[in-house]
Amino acid sequence: MDKLKKLLPPLAVVVLLVAVWWIVVVESESVIFPTPWQVATGTYELIEQGTLWGHIGASLFRVGTGFFLAISIGVPLGLLMGWVAGAFTTINPIVQILRPISPIAWIPLSILWFGVGDVSPIFLIFLSSVFPIVVQTTAGVHTIERQYLRAAENFGVKRLKLFLQVVIPAVLPQIIIGMRVSLGVAWLVVVAAEMIALRSGLGYLIIDSRNAGNRYDLVIAGMVIIGLTGLLLDGSMRRLERLKMVRWKYAR
């Protein structure tokens, strides 16, 4: 009941927006811009054809792979940069230079290196999502409260134990925040990354629907599905924040 109460206001906003959209399209007698109903039937058409799940699956696969690569490289790199001062001064400048370059700018190079298969979009997604996790992890190590490191030193624990039982758990809440940001960015660039993809993915669906017959209902359907999937992905990352061993950081 309480959940329903919380859900009601945002739901009302969505209903209101859809209503305004519908009214504006009908009133302006637009021939090309679809009504919500047309978007719904367009989506149903994709489900009927059986292509929708394929597109979603392809996008999720690319984002998942790129994101996984970003985490498996970004977290260790961030820990290294945070823990070893020399590594930070050596690597941080190049990170800061590469970070502001939009993944779109990498598209030509990506095609040159990897062609137009699955690797290119995965590479672009990796590029966009690796930097947030590196930056967040590094900052996490830098802000470990001193008293915890001191206590560990006081008890005379070995380096490995210090790293596994103090440094990593102390940074874990920040890593999870970094992962959330990273996954958000990864999903954000999926359309751009799939502009060069072959025949699958939600990004491809949007570009292709526009190019092959001005199917704006399918363009919007693609957009809505990207939005909803992003919401689900973020929700699943949020669940990680509820783990008891990281809750201490967010509770305050």
């Binding site: 409260e145 008293q147 915890y148 001191r150 206590a151 560990a152 030193e153 006081n154 008890f155 005379g156 624990v157 039982q165 103090v166 758990p169 102390a170 874990l172 008891k244 061993m245 990281v246 809750r247 201490w248 950081k249 509770a251």
Partner: protein, 273 residues
């Protein structure tokens, strides 16, 4: 000669094992558990050299409870960091059992104001953090948790406990590694007045059982008088020991007793109040 020594040693062991802990306050660096000798420390700042500690000398006997009080900002924490091995003095040295201190170790555990119970570990895992592999660590951890009155909270996370309970965990985690010396840097200052008082009594009860050497740094004169065998008063920066007071009264002490009130006034006078 040798046999004599060995005999005496075995006697001491028997005494230590069979009898309740005896509090014997040794004096002088020869017998001191902890000897702080002619320590100075300055920091380099933008405005030049800032002398913080201007030469400090004292000893703490085995099993003795010494409190250091001083005005805020006088360099108490710097002094504690040096004594516990986290910082190096410019001059002088710290001897533990006659051996110069070189860095922190588990023979002397620091309990500080901020608290350092790891929030990502359960109470029990915190307790076992300083214990190495062999032996039944879990039983040992549980024993000390019970000692501080936290049986039943083994699986709790620190953020589920109150400030006073956290202090107990920290104390128990220190005791479980059986340190020779407890270094307490304003351990109770972050607690509310009532919890502070309750923790003092608890601390005394536990110390009576466990017999540790304790060095307490505090700005609370009553706290010092309540627990310590001896109180050292520090001057303002660069800090030196300005006065030493014996507190030769048995526990439990009544702070309202005339002797302690007189002592309190003398100490406050030293602090300029």
């Amino acid at each position: 000669m040798h046999a004599d020594l060995a005999f005496r040693k075995s006697c001491e062991n028997v005494v230590a094992d069979k009898n309740p802990p005896m509090v014997v306050a040794y004096q002088g660096p020869m017998h001191a558990k902890l000897a702080v000798s002619r320590i100075t420390k300055s920091y380099v700042t933008d405005k030049g050299l800032l002398p913080v500690i201007g030469g400090i000398d004292f000893g703490v006997g085995d099993g003795e409870f010494v409190a250091i009080v001083g005005p805020s900002g006088c360099g108490k924490t710097t002094l504690m960091n040096i004594i516990a091995g986290f910082d190096r003095p410019d001059e002088g040295q710290v001897l533990v059992d006659g051996v110069p201190r070189d860095g922190p170790n588990a023979k002397g555990i620091v309990i500080s104001q901020q608290g350092s119970v790891f929030p990502w570990l359960t109470v029990q895992r915190n307790m076992m953090f300083g214990l190495s592999g062999d032996g039944d660590n879990e039983a040992l951890a549980d024993h000390y948790l019970e000692l501080v009155g936290l049986k039943g909270f083994e699986k709790s996370y620190p953020h589920e406990l109150s400030g006073g309970m956290l202090k107990r965990v920290e104390l128990a985690r220190a005791l479980v590694v059986k340190p020779d010396i407890l270094y307490m840097d304003e351990p109770l200052s972050a607690l509310d007045a009532l919890t502070n008082l309750r923790m003092r009594t608890e601390l005394l009860r536990i110390l009576a059982k466990e017999r540790h050497t304790v060095l307490l740094i505090t700005h609370d004169v009553e706290e010092a008088l309540h627990m310590a065998d001896r109180v050292l008063v520090l001057s303002s920066r660069p800090t030196m020991i300005q006065a030493r007071f014996e507190v030769p009264y048995p526990h439990p002490r009544k702070l309202s007793s005339p002797e302690l009130q007189t002592l309190k006034e003398s100490i406050l006078r030293e602090l300029g109040l």
